[in-house]
């Protein structure tokens, strides 16, 4: 059949290109909700740091960035940025920026950063296509590309403006895995080296590279245990591991970790094991089987014992670092809460609630096991990989919300395999018994092809190679089961068509509703339906940026550190790079203490301004009073004598802010700063709308701090730390004296009247 003078193979590849282009456009398009609704702006917290470092990189060049010591964060400690950062995303944007400028395309660096994740998501779709092509065929590949293009689990981390490592890391993950499968299939050092190269890029981009460096050895181990050791596997893994490890050690943040930490030991062990097995294979080819049996067993046991004891000894001697806290929390979900409150305090480190699986993956979550089952049926090397990936990733996704991200690609792939298998079965014309009905099916098929992007329409061309094999298979199958009636086909196909529609609809709905808010800008609707923008964060940050001294130090809870340094351009004490728990605990202690203790801490750290988030007026629930218990807990972890969590609960064990709040709570500066002047706004009886509490009557008085700025909706409140009193009094005495003077003046005036 010739259309446009092309052979059916060319038609198929033309269609594939067009469909992939459409998928890429859809993938980008569905991530632009936030831009259409709001603006081209960097979202949330971490992206602001990435954006700031990217600007630094673009402005000062790579070497300056590499050696950058940032003295404007973690005051007074500072931070060695070049050595504590995954530079992949910044370098990628800087390269794109410089290339565009070299061809006279003066695109703003902000726009490069904002659009990086959507553009990479379209490339991820292509990577998923390639990966799935290796698993099944290109029609499954196209389905997988379409799924991953719109799957909310991935969109959640890659909308326009969400300029974070994950934005490019998922592409790298998929592409590295594709290359790995290819390398194992072909057994070529070239593909192994390519895998290593992209693994290196992944190491540069995201801490999640540990997943790759553990999953690939696991794959190798399982293959070996299945008795599938081959020279292909040996070549692929050896070239990948050696090159990949050497390259990954070039990243300063990673450094010697691949040889010294437990997370990387599995890869090293498997590498050793492969060498031994290869050696054994060599010996076997030269020895008789009886001798060999004895030698083999002795050798395996000996080497295993030796390696394991070496590992234990080195760990005990401190050469190999034991697992870090974040990894322990992967095995024991309660670990972090007990030992490292700072990890537990991050909402994305919480275990996943089951509805979020459905929310993020919709019908794919049901198709996922089916896909795994299909993989078991075929069980080539790459299918083993898919199964392992699926099992490990679903465990991790259950443990930590944010790891849903690594699960999404494999769910898309397996679901695509399932759907494609189903379509193959139900649309295969060769099993249709009546010839006169075939024309009917043809039309349904065409319709369907039009509707769901048409992955199935190329099936005949694609599968040309395997056609004969399949038909014979099908004929065999026909003896046992088969789809004979057109009605059965129609029911199943229309059902799935419906499900696909619902999937697309669900994805769009989730993306637009849940994942497209920049979180630095809030939106609400006025009564007449117009959008009303609440822009308090930027109001406060811009005020700081323009009206305070450039060297002012701003104290805030670490959540806002990156935003303050990015938007307000002021020095912060702690930020989202939570590398120093003590420092964070000190800030927590200051927030949780009474004014005089806090004043001492703030003076010692040269704090000029204190910034807090208060949602009471606008019912914004993510405010500091709601996070306060975490501050207390983290502070208690370091200063157990000064801060006790129990004191912040009242006698009945409740965490309250109204008149039943505990005295320690009411004396803490966090409480005071939140509710300073708040009662007066309501003429005496303030109501906290987040916690639904009536505040105790009376004014909240501060004597060591003074209100410097409060935003329009009171969300951000900035206080200035008062200087020491000129007359050497304590600030409390000074405030009392001023108060008395005022009162006297007032009474005098009244007396005169």
């Amino acid at each position: 059949m010739k259309i446009l003078g092309l052979t059916s193979q060319n038609q198929a590849s033309l269609l594939k290109v067009i469909i992939l282009a459409l998928i890429a456009t859809t993938a980008i398009g569905s991530r632009l909700f936030s831009i259409v609704r709001f603006e081209s702006v960097i979202h949330e917290f971490d992206p602001w740091f990435n954006f700031r470092t990217t600007k630094h990189l673009v402005a000062n060049g790579f070497y300056e960035f590499w050696n950058w010591f940032d003295d404007r964060s973690w005051y007074p400690l500072g931070r060695v940025v070049g050595g504590t950062v995954f530079p992949g995303i910044m370098t990628t944007s800087a390269v794109i920026y410089n290339v565009l400028h070299a061809v006279n395309f003066p695109v703003d660096i902000r726009n490069v950063c904002v659009f990086l994740a959507p553009v990479f998501s379209s490339i991820t779709a292509y990577a998923a296509y390639l990966f799935t092509c290796e698993i099944k065929d290109s029609s499954a590949g196209l389905l997988a590309a379409a799924f991953i293009g719109v799957a909310p689990g991935y969109i959640s981390r890659s909308v326009a403006g969400s300029y974070d490592n994950e934005g490019i890391a998922i592409f790298l993950l998929m592409f590295t895995f594709y290359l790995w499968i290819k390398a194992v299939k072909i057994g070529s050092a070239y593909w192994g080296a390519l895998t290593a190269l992209f693994y290196f890029y992944m190491v540069a981009a995201w801490g999640g590279y540990v997943f790759i460096i553990n999953l690939i050895p696991l794959h190798v181990l399982v293959l070996v245990l299945m008795g599938r050791f081959s020279s292909r596997l040996y070549v692929a893994y050896s070239s990948f591991y050696v090159l990949g490890t050497l390259m990954s050690m070039q990243i300063p943040f990673v450094g010697f970790q691949p040889t010294r930490t437990s997370e990387h030991m599995a890869a090293l062990g498997i590498f050793g094991l492969l060498q031994i097995i290869a050696f054994v294979e060599l010996v076997r080819s030269h020895l008789s089987s009886n001798q060999f049996q004895i030698l083999f067993k002795g050798f395996i046991v000996l080497s295993f014992v030796l390696m394991f004891s070496a590992l234990v000894l080195l760990t005990a001697a401190g050469y190999i670092a034991p697992w870090t806290g974040r990894f322990y929390s992967l095995w024991d979900t309660g670990y972090a809460k007990k030992h490292i409150p700072i990890i537990a305090s991050v909402s994305e480190h919480q275990p996943t609630a089951w509805p979020s699986f459905f929310f993020d993956l919709e019908m794919l979550v049901f198709l996922f096991p089916a896909g795994i089952y299909i993989c078991f049926k075929e069980l080539r090397d790459e299918h083993v990989f898919v199964i392992l990936y699926g099992i490990t990733a679903s465990y991790f996704a259950g443990v930590m919300v944010r790891l849903m991200l690594t699960l999404t690609p494999i769910v898309c792939v397996t679901a695509a395999v399932t759907v494609s298998k189903l379509l193959d079965t139900y649309m295969d014309l060769s099993t249709l018994d009546t010839t006169d009905l075939s024309s009917n099916t043809q039309t349904t098929k065409d319709e369907k092809a039009k509707k769901d992007g048409g992955p199935s329409s190329k099936k005949p061309g694609d599968n040309a190679k395997s056609e004969d094999k399949k038909t014979t298979k099908k004929k065999d199958n026909n003896n046992h089961w088969g789809v004979y009636g057109i009605d059965t086909r129609l029911i199943v196909l229309s059902n799935f068509l419906f499900l696909l529609f619902i999937f697309a609809w669900h994805c769009t709905w989730v993306t637009s509703g849940a994942y497209s808010s920049p979180s630095i800008v809030l939106a609400s609707r006025t009564q007449d339906g117009n959008q009303f923008i609440i822009d308090d964060f930027r109001e406060a940050y811009y005020w700081l940026r323009k009206n305070t001294d450039y060297n002012s130090k701003v104290m805030s809870w670490w959540d806002y550190g990156y935003q303050i340094s990015g938007m307000a351009d002021r020095t912060t004490l702690v930020d989202n790079n939570t590398w120093n728990n003590t420092h964070i605990a000190t800030v927590g202690k200051a927030m949780a203490s009474n004014e005089d203790t806090a004043y001492e801490i703030m003076r010692r750290h040269d704090v000029d301004y204190v910034l807090i988030i208060f949602g009471g007026l606008l019912a914004y629930s993510g405010d500091d009073i709601n996070k306060f218990l975490w501050m207390v807990r983290i502070a208690e972890g370091v200063y157990p004598n000064d801060v006790q969590e129990s004191k912040f609960f009242n006698a009945r064990g409740e965490y309250r802010v109204d008149s039943e709040a505990s005295p320690t709570m009411r004396n803490s500066i966090m409480y005071k700063m939140s509710y300073h002047n708040y009662n007066e706004l309501f003429n005496g009886q303030g109501v906290d709308r987040v916690r639904g509490a009536k505040l105790p009557p009376g004014n909240v008085k501060l004597h060591t701090l003074e209100e410097a700025y409060t935003t329009d909706n009171w969300i951000v409140r900035i206080y200035k730390v008062k200087p020491l009193d000129n007359l050497g009094r304590t600030l409390e005495q000074a405030a009392a004296f001023e108060e008395g003077k005022k009162r006297r003046a007032k009474s005098k005036r009244r007396g005169n009247n």
């Binding site: 709001f38 081209s40 006279n104 811009y542 323009k546």
Partner: protein, 484 residues
């Protein structure tokens, strides 16, 4: 070493002596029969208009009259112009010598005709000063009253003898904190104070005049303004982008800002603070696609509307601007080019006319940089400015898909006031085939891209023979593995 030092000192004294030598003496060939000076204090920009009847006392016809501005004031002089009162014909004004004795800078006014001996002419000189009003007290509370102090000369500054003169001060409000009174010749009348008549006053006479008056509005000053005008023949579009760095120059905020008090006073207009919370700028008519952003993104609090002969852009800064507070932002809009660009058939040149700066009343601009980007391939560029500027330079600006870059004219000026809001003209030659440069370069770019991809897809990077063999082997291996 010491010797050099002495030589240097010697040279310095010689030079300064040389300057002193050159002190300017005004020939006393005029006297003023009647002089009326009006000081306008209703805006933060002080405008002084001196109208006088000049009488030629010399023997020869003359057309040169010298107008003095004290050294202190000259630093803040933003504008000076002179015209004949009746005909309103403008006279040429240029900077003349400096009198080191009286510390006075002279401006030479050249009349458009010779005035005969014993004849007279009625002239009006307008001077505009910025930064001479001081908010006293320097700091006020959030809702406090702001007072400005004007310190000046009771008499008109003049280089000639005056028979009769009078000074009128116009005020923004009738209340006053204090003002200079001269017995018998001072009259205060609602929003006006009159001093005079003074009879037979000498040249350069100076008597301090101070007026301390309330002014309950923000005193806005643009620290710097960058204006970019981009002419596009292709789109028939003039794209304008303006970057502002603004400060409220009024009395500083005492203590800290209280949102509570601010929100309370929003309902009581009588106690309004001097904070600027709503600004408005006028754009030319037909402006479209306005945007308003600052360094950290879009600001949503703005309102833009088109009116028949202007477009109004009202916007709120992110925070109210109290005294001493800064704010920066940029905004931009598009205009139809045909209103600004004319083609002269005979000369085969394009003439571009636009306002140097859009009028923002009562706001001083300390520094302004106007960048005019002409289309790629424009040549023979000539710039005609209505007034003198500090600096003018020509260069290249490269942007989207440019090959040789666009012609860039940069004009830098300082101390700008309303009086400067005038048209400037730039003319240039532009060949019509330059229009094809862009599509050509764009299509070449894409052709190159397609060619590259075509070549790439036909290249084979694998060692093909081996690959197929490996593949086969792999398949067999796989089957075997399954079997085992």
């Amino acid at each position: 070493m010491l010797l050099f030092y002495f030589l240097f000192l010697l040279a310095l004294t010689l030079v300064s002596a040389g300057v002193k030598e050159a002190s300017f003496i005004v020939p006393q060939t005029w006297k003023n029969l009647n002089l009326l000076r009006t000081v306008d204090l209703t805006t933060p920009i002080v405008r002084e208009v001196t109208a006088f009847v000049a009488f030629n006392t010399g023997d020869d016809p003359s057309k040169e009259y010298y107008f003095p501005v004290s050294e202190e004031r000259d630093k803040h002089l933003a504008w000076i112009s002179a015209n004949e009162r009746k005909t309103t014909v403008n006279f040429e004004v240029e900077k003349a010598g400096f009198d080191t004795e009286n510390r006075v800078q002279f401006y030479k006014i050249s009349f458009n005709r010779l005035v005969d001996a014993q004849e007279k002419i009625t002239v009006e000189v307008k001077t505009v000063f910025t930064h001479i009003l001081k908010p006293i007290p320097h700091e006020i509370p959030q809702n406090g009253k702001q007072y400005l102090l004007y310190i000046g000369n009771l008499y008109a500054s003049n280089a000639y003898f005056s028979e009769k003169q009078r000074t009128i001060v116009n005020l923004p409000s009738p209340q006053l904190l204090s003002y200079t009174t001269v017995p018998e010749v001072t009259t205060k009348n609602d929003k006006q104070i009159t001093y005079g008549f003074f009879n037979n006053t000498q040249a350069y006479i100076h008597e301090p005049l101070s007026i301390h008056y309330p002014y309950q509005k923000a005193i806005l000053r643009i620290k710097s303004l960058r204006r970019e005008l981009e002419v596009s023949h292709w789109g028939g579009n003039l794209a304008v982008e303006e970057t502002f760095d603004l400060i409220n120059d009024g009395a500083r905020l005492q203590g800290q800002f209280s949102r509570l008090e601010y929100q309370r006073t929003q309902y009581f207009p009588q106690s309004e603070s001097i904070a600027a919370h709503l600004l408005s700028i006028i754009f030319p008519p037909g402006a479209a696609d306005a945007y308003y952003r600052d360094e950290i993104g879009n600001v949503s609090t703005s309102n833009f509307r088109n009116e028949p002969n202007r477009s109004v852009f009202e916007f709120k800064p992110r925070y109210p601007l109290f005294g001493g507070w800064n704010y920066t932002w940029y905004h931009g809009y598009n205009l139809p080019l045909n209103k600004f660009l004319r083609y002269h058939e005979g000369k085969e040149r394009f003439y571009f006319n636009a306002k140097f700066i859009e009028r923002w009343p009562d706001v001083v601009t300390d520094k302004i940089v106007v960048k005019l980007i002409l289309p790629e391939g424009a040549r023979d560029v000539q710039v005609h400015l209505p007034f003198k500027v500090r600096k003018q330079s020509h260069g290249i600006h490269k942007t989207y898909l440019d090959t040789i870059g666009r012609y860039l004219v940069t004009i830098e000026a300082y101390n700008f006031v309303d009086e400067h809001v005038q048209d400037f003209q730039v003319s240039y030659a532009y060949d019509s085939d330059e229009l094809f440069r862009k599509p050509l370069s764009a299509s070449t770019f894409f052709l190159g891209l397609f060619l590259l991809s075509a070549i790439y897809s036909r290249m084979e990077f694998n060692i093909k023979y081996k690959k197929t063999e490996d593949l086969k082997e792999g398949k067999v291996d796989g089957e075997e593995g399954k079997g085992r």
